[in-house]
């Protein structure tokens, strides 16, 4: 049920926790002892209710926040700072309105010291695959929601990190665009085989995309369950109706539903 221990892990999160002082001076536990293990080229998702600490965990792996306990190993090594080592795509697309689409997607290369010419050349080669051809000279505001997300993803891809953190990238899209984007993301991932850690609160999305799904529970946030998604690849949209898919979905939903019911009872009581 857990990842094969002998495989060299891309990312290991060991007993990572985060506490900080709240406004009233009380200690807030944002994350309590999380353990993750991701092999190179794996697609792993984290699902959980809001406030379960998944964003905290993400910020720790991206190097934006320091954990108060535990350690994070990238390629088997503990780094003084993870900044600049992990690809990171937050919920908002964060395209800069003053830069053309092309200059937005080359941001990571530019920060990495690649010359503007080389960066643009690398980006142009990928525009077609990301559905942005013909739009490289447009302002981000000319793009539709799906295109903006693809541009943000291309920016993350071009930054060239082996491990990419995607925080609910399709959360703000309408249902139809979302499904198209999920299929498209699987195609892109299958072609490059980068390691992806994906956050969502949509269980169906997690099952459809992932090799493995971690379920987190809230207050204090901890990893509650880890489920291998052994559905065959390549997966197509039709897989949503298969009995295996439905069974996996139910298995993941049960603890989430239980937790949210308990939370509601506390509030109602």
């Amino acid at each position: 049920m857990t990842a094969p221990q002998e495989a060299p892990a891309k990312l290991v999160v060991e007993d990572v926790g985060k506490r900080f002082a709240g406004d009233g001076g009380e200690t807030v536990v944002a994350l309590e002892g999380a353990d993750l293990r991701i092999a190179p080229g794996e697609f792993v998702s984290i699902v959980g209710p809001s406030g379960c600490g998944k964003s905290t965990l993400f910020n720790i792996v991206a190097g934006l926040t320091r954990p108060t306990r535990g350690r994070v190993l990238l390629d088997g090594e503990e780094h003084a700072s993870l900044l600049g080592r992990v690809g990171y795509m937050p919920q908002k697309d964060l395209l800069m309105p003053w830069r053309s689409v092309l200059d937005n997607v080359t941001l990571g290369l530019e920060m990495g010291g690649v010359s503007r010419r080389d960066a643009r050349e690398l980006a142009r080669a990928e525009l077609g695959r990301f559905g942005l051809r013909g739009f490289e000279r447009r302002w981000p505001r000319d793009l539709s929601g799906g295109m903006r997300q693809r541009a943000a993803l291309l920016r993350t891809f071009l930054a060239g990190r082996e491990l990419m953190l995607l925080d609910e990238p399709f959360g703000a899209l309408d249902a139809l665009t979302r499904q198209t984007m999920q299929e498209w993301l699987l195609d892109v991932w299958a072609a490059d085989r980068k390691t992806i850690l994906f956050i969502t609160h949509d269980v169906e999305e997690a099952v459809y995309l992932s090799d493995r799904v971690y379920v987190m529970s809230g207050r204090p946030g901890r990893v509650q369950l880890c489920v291998e998604i052994d559905l065959p690849r390549p997966r197509r949209f039709e897989i949503h109706g298969s009995p295996a898919f439905v069974a996996l979905k139910q298995r993941l939903l049960a603890p989430l539903h239980e937790a949210s019911r308990r939370q509601l009872e506390e509030v109602v009581a």
């Binding site: 910020n59 934006l64 800069m96 309105p97 920060m111 000319d142 793009l143 930054a159 299929e183």
Partner: protein
Amino acid sequence: MSAVQTAASARGEAESRRGSGARLRRAAGHVLPPLLFLALVLVLWQAGVRISGTEESTLPAPTDVFSAMWENRTLLADNAWVTIQEILIGYTAAIVLGVGLAVVLASSLLAERAMYPWLVVSQMVPIPAIAPILVIWTGFDLRPKVIVIALVSFFPIAVNTLDGLKSTEPELLNLLKTLGAGRWKRFRTAQLPSALPFLFSGLKIGAALSVIGAVFAEWVGADAGLGYLILTLNNQVATAEMFATIIVLAVIGIALFGLVRLAERLMLPWYHAGRKEERA
């Protein structure tokens, strides 16, 4: 996937196919109404003065003002040049001071806490009132004028730029951090560009204030310039010539404002492209 792409590129082509004729017509629609309105006001003014037989020293007719302007063109041009120099130097100093201060305050919370209240207090001091002190210190030359102009116009520039520098999305700064960008790269890539629209708002207010500052400064102590000229003409009850001088001052103010707007359009194409579409 391909359907998404085709629909999107069709949209792109339609947008770029905007004719230049339509743009010209729209520009005319913006320029003509105010000009026609001005012509109407001038005609009514002329008729009113002539019909009522008002003295020229009380209210000159537009034709009187224009002929006064033509007769005194050398005098006006010489004094205008003095005032323009004061404004250009003072306004430039205000930009350097305002932007510099905003960058310092934005880069350190301590600096902001220590200095921001005093920045506000500096504007509560009536600057025309300290102009005489400046004249005592520096004399009748260019310096007190430049200082007064800089003092009145740096405040909107500093405050707007500071707001702009602080308006950068924190998530964007975090994203840049994860891309390995240091403090300077984050400032140059994210903070500075997102502050530019705010900076230009400040520059436009500052431009208008700088002309007022120049006139005030010349009233306190000067031997040349349009503000000085107004005082002299006032003593001679040369009302038509005073009106002519005021018009020249207004033209200088409008020209400076126009220059700032032009720079804004050139430097922020993304900002204006968007606003045009929102209006349409």
